[in-house]
């Protein structure tokens, strides 16, 4: 570069460039939207009979903004939770004994069933104010993200490469320094991926949580979810269509403006030996990194973060290390005391639940709940099987064609975000018009949102299938059923199972919404534990809700442990390519 050239650009550099203008406009717009959206959060609770949500299309952007803010608040809460819970679990062996199984169970509990409790709880915290309902909705979204994210961080913290750990220890980094220099960066790619996947699930919850009736109390928060609920009540097809369009735009914006840039940025945190072949790119990140002002403004911020991460914060050594090192016997006694405490607390908790349920319910109720759970189990199993039969061949076909895979995979992820409530009108109309058996025909709703996980992962698996194995199969003229059974299915099994496990968990949750469906003034109901819980929620019958959720949780946990985990372990051991 010539000297003159350098001078010219040096002079011009101080002025913002065109990318700065774009970035600044976007940033300002963001602030305005947040200000407008957050305005309504602390409003007093409207009277129960006042319509909180109008079906006016022009209100949709505002509703969308409110919903988005809720999602963000939940995301922030999930991050705080993740960083404390997972770190504690990874750092302390004794806490790990409690926290990880607990997290495992929490993942299996259909939190949607507990919505009535959380709503009541949060309304009690902020009486007469919308904030309580907001918190309940945010909490519902939180529960759909936090467990997954915490697991991801925990696993990353446990698998920090040994040599990097030794470098950190060798340089005598304090716990704080090590966390921010090594552990957190190492966990970033996994955490972001899991956050993104959880976000799809979050939509399902936000829609369910914005408009909810618990006994006599009906809570309606302005948002896309209550808009859909209002449209369902009014039987307004146009409003449903408008809601679908709005959601599509939001999901797309989320993906393009938030997650793509973050994923592209997080590429540098991947621990790998060589620069990977495919690097994610994002036009938003490109704009931001081409700006001058924004970058200049951001630089001291990054520098500050780095300095904070390098502060010498650590637990002070109260005793010399050789005194701290407990004898094995003492450690074992402490372990026993700790386990005894855990067992005692668990027994007390179980007793509490049983006592609560037993105030109004007796054994026949329990049998009934178990009986209904079998219906839902059957539904989940059959529908998962159907979805597998339909989607695996399609996904394999797509996955083996890179161009198609590239186009379809984001669409599948996109579709997974659409809440099942959008289909209520169609389902109810069909069942009533043709006098169909709801036990059979409502079942499809269970996998409406979750089947896409199978599609998404199977496509990924087929796309990653080694080309030489494909060529070998073709060369030896392996075809037909043999080709499926011996060549492709074992190869995609680990991927398919990842998708199927997610889909199965989601389907149980969805049953609470999908077995008990309302459209205008008509209600269609199937037999199942989901309908049981939904019914109890409508009536505000808390013991029944607890019973229903407890039985469902036990089933889900057993189903996961006895079926999915075994399959997955087998696939990991034998079929990982």
């Amino acid at each position: 570069m010539s000297r003159i050239n350098t001078f010219a650009s040096a002079g011009r550099r101080i002025l913002p460039n065109q990318w700065d203008v774009i970035a600044l406009a976007a940033i300002l717009a963001l602030f305005v939207m947040i200000a407008r959206g957050s305005h309504g959060i602390t409003a007093p609770l409207p009277a129960a009979d006042a319509p909180a949500v109008s079906l006016d299309y022009w209100q949709l952007p505002y509703y969308a903004m409110r919903t988005i803010l809720r999602m963000f608040a939940a995301l922030a809460a999930s991050l705080v939770f993740t960083f404390t819970y997972a770190t504690l679990a990874a750092k302390s062996r004794r806490w790990e004994m409690v926290l990880i199984p607990l997290l495992d169970i929490l993942q299996s509990v259909p939190i949607l069933g507990f919505l009535s409790f959380t709503v009541t709880f949060f309304l009690g915290l902020f009486p007469g104010n919308v904030l309580g309902a907001e918190c309940a909705a945010i909490f519902a979204i939180f529960t759909s993200q936090a467990w997954n994210m915490a697991f991801s961080l925990y696993q990353s913290l446990r698998t920090v490469p040994r040599d990097l750990d030794e470098v950190a220890r060798g340089f005598r980094l304090t716990g704080w320094q090590k966390f921010w220099q090594l552990e957190a960066p190492f966990a970033v790619p996994g955490l972001i991926w899991n956050t993104m996947m959880s976000m799809s699930g979050g939509w399902f919850f936000v829609v369910a949580a914005e408009a909810i009736t618990v006994g006599d109390t009906t809570i309606t928060l302005p948002g896309i979810g209550s808009y859909i609920a209002a449209a369902n009540t009014a039987g307004d097809w146009y409003a449903i269509t408008a809601a679908v369009a709005t959601m599509a735009i939001i999901i797309l914006a989320y993906d393009q403006l938030l997650f793509r840039p973050i994923i592209a940025w997080a590429g540098k945190f991947r621990v790998e030996l060589s620069a990977s072949q495919q690097t994610e790119s994002s036009w938003v990140l490109d704009i931001l990194s081409r700006t001058y002002w924004v970058r200049t403004a951001a630089r001291p911020v990054f520098k500050l973060f780095r300095s904070i991460g390098l502060l010498r914060i650590g637990l002070p050594k109260l005793l010399p290390p050789n005194v701290v090192k407990a004898t094995p016997e003492a450690s074992r006694i402490l372990d026993i005391a700790w386990i005894a405490a855990i067992v005692a607390v668990s027994i007390w908790a179980i007793w509490l639940v049983v006592a609560f349920v037993a105030t109004e319910l007796s054994w026949p109720d329990v049998w009934q709940a178990i009986y209904l759970t079998f219906f839902t189990l059957l539904r989940v199993v059959v529908l998962m099987a159907l979805a597998t039969i339909v989607w695996v061949p399609v996904s394999v076909w797509i996955g083996l064609r890179p161009r198609w895979a590239e186009a379809v995979q984001p669409v599948a992820q996109f579709l997974a975000a659409f809440p099942v409530n959008l289909l209520f009108g169609g389902a109810v109309s069909l069942v009533l018009t043709f006098h169909l058996n709801p036990d059979i025909w409502l079942s499809g709703l269970i996998v409406f949102g979750t089947q896409w996980y199978i599609v998404f992962n199977t496509i990924g698996g087929a796309a990653a299938y080694p080309n030489d194995l494909r060529e070998a199969a073709a060369n030896f003229r392996v075809h037909g059923w043999d080709w499926w059974r011996k060549a492709i299915l074992p190869g995609i099994a680990p991927y398919y199972l990842t998708g199927a496990i997610t889909a199965s968990g989601g389907s149980w949750n969805a049953s609470i919404v999908a077995e008990y469906v309302k459209w205008k003034d008509q209600t269609v109901e199937a037999h199942g534990i989901g309908a049981y819980i939904a019914h109890a929620t409508d009536k505000g019958d808390f013991p029944k809700i607890v019973l229903g959720v407890a039985i469902m949780s036990i089933f889900v946990t057993l189903f996961n442990r006895l079926f999915w985990r075994q399959l997955y372990a087998y696939a990991e051991r034998r079929l990982r390519l």
Partner: protein, 437 residues
């Protein structure tokens, strides 16, 4: 010098290391009664084969791991945690991929609170010394292996350690790059341009040790212990083709291929009597046959010089020695000083066809490896002719560490499969006679 004991920079006295088994009880020792010293101004190489505990020893010295027994003192002070005054260079480079070269180098000083300007000055100087100018803002991913290891060196130098510890620093690099880095480091060391008092390096490369070190400490395996100490009086720069150099290399080869004496720990136990305490390395049966053929063919005609063989086959001693030892165990070949020689049996094997080879191989495994005979006996005794692998694994763990037991079991499965002695079902983890017919 004010230092009262300027000669002994580092003292390792009677260090033993035992890792607990999965069940909680102590396993077989990884290191046993290791003592060594490091003096100012010398490069010492710890030479040993994989699994001899040399990396563990290095981690004990750096304070990253505590020994089960014994003590390490650094400049007179006992080491009881990550020590000041030592810095380590890793085989895998161990760079933080999200930090630039400069940030990686600055990490050490900044972590202990050295002011930013001072850190920057020292980092740039280290980068300059090690030849990384111009790469300051690159990420490790963008660099070649050699450049990455230079970052590793700069990062270690910048904390101004007294002792530089190196854990096989050149073994992940290609031959040319490794040689350049070795000579660059030696030049810096000879010219006194790096403020380090002493270097302790771990290696499994005999020539590398002779090329760089003033003293070589040879470690024996299972359990790791000091087998010999050899002074290298050659002047720098050393020439690999110099007869004195070659003689030293030969001498060390001969030393490292000596038949292991009966192991002190299990000498009186049942393991030694039944021979179950014999740890087997994992080797490929194809390589075994290939090596026999190579030695049988010209130019070796039945007897090969090990350094020469290693060079022509491009094998590290971690590959070469296990092959040779397995051949010796099966009586197909034997070591003689720094040579390996085919036996009559080995010569017969080379001339056989595939089926005959497998038959002979199977017979030899059964006759010479007690574990194989033991498994076969158990299978014969049981009415079902099946036996779970865990049974044998637990037996092995009485005599060796879990890692060695697992490796030995894998090795015997591999040898038995080739010799068609018995079958192993990976899913059920059981031995049997059932092969698909």
């Amino acid at each position: 010098m004010l230092d009262p004991s300027p000669t002994n920079l580092l003292d390792v006295s009677h260090v033993s290391q035992t890792f607990a088994k999965g069940s909680g009880e102590p396993g077989a020792p990884v290191l046993q009664d290791v003592s060594l010293t490091l003096r100012t101004g010398e490069i010492v190489a710890l030479l040993g084969r994989s699994g001899c505990g040399k990396s563990t020893l290095l981690r004990i010295i750096s304070g990253l791991t505590r020994p089960s027994e014994g003590e390490v003192t650094l400049a007179g002070k006992p080491v009881d945690g990550p020590a000041e005054g030592v810095a380590m260079v890793f085989q895998s480079f161990a760079l933080f991929p999200w930090l630039t070269v400069l940030d990686n180098v600055e990490l050490g000083p900044r972590a202990i609170g050295v002011p930013q300007d001072e850190t920057r000055k020292r980092a740039l100087k280290a980068i300059d010394t090690i030849g990384l100018d111009g790469f300051e803002s690159a990420y490790p991913k963008e660099l070649s292996g050699g450049m990455r290891q230079r970052v590793g060196f700069a990062r270690a130098l910048v904390v101004q350690p007294q002792i530089l510890l190196m854990d096989e620093p050149f073994s992940a690099l290609d031959v040319l790059t490794a040689e350049t880095l070795r000579t660059d480091l030696l030049d810096l060391w000879q010219d006194g341009r790096i403020p380090i008092k002493s270097i302790l390096m771990v290696t499994h490369n005999i020539e590398e040790a002779v090329l760089m070190a003033d003293r070589i400490i040879v470690l024996a395996s299972n359990p790791g212990r000091v087998a010999a100490e050899i002074a290298i009086p050659l002047k720098h720069p050393r020439d690999r083709l110099d007869p004195d150099f070659r003689n030293l290399v030969e001498k060390i080869y001969a030393l490292m291929t000596q038949r292991p004496e009966p192991k002190p720990v299990v000498a009186e136990s049942a393991g030694a009597a039944t021979g179950l305490g014999l740890a087997l390395p994992r080797v490929s049966t194809n390589s075994l046959a290939g090596m026999l053929e190579e030695i049988a063919a010209p130019p070796y005609n039945g007897q090969a010089d090990l350094p020469h063989l290693a060079d022509s086959l491009q094998l590290e001693i971690d590959d070469l020695f296990p092959l040779g030892e397995t051949l010796q165990l099966l009586k197909f070949a034997e070591f003689a000083d720094a040579d390996i020689k085919l036996t009559a049996l080995g010569k017969r094997f080379v001339d056989m066809d595939v089926d005959q080879r497998k038959k002979l191989f199977g017979d030899e495994v059964l006759a010479n490896i007690p574990l194989a005979a033991h498994i076969k006996r158990v299978l014969d005794e049981r009415p079902s002719h099946r036996a779970p692998a865990t049974r044998f694994r637990e037996e092995l763990e009485d005599y060796m560490s879990e890692e060695y037991a697992e490796r030995t079991l894998r090795a015997i499965i591999n040898l038995a499969r080739y010799g068609e002695l018995f079958a192993y079902d990976e899913n059920a983890q059981t031995f049997s006679y059932e092969n698909p017919t």
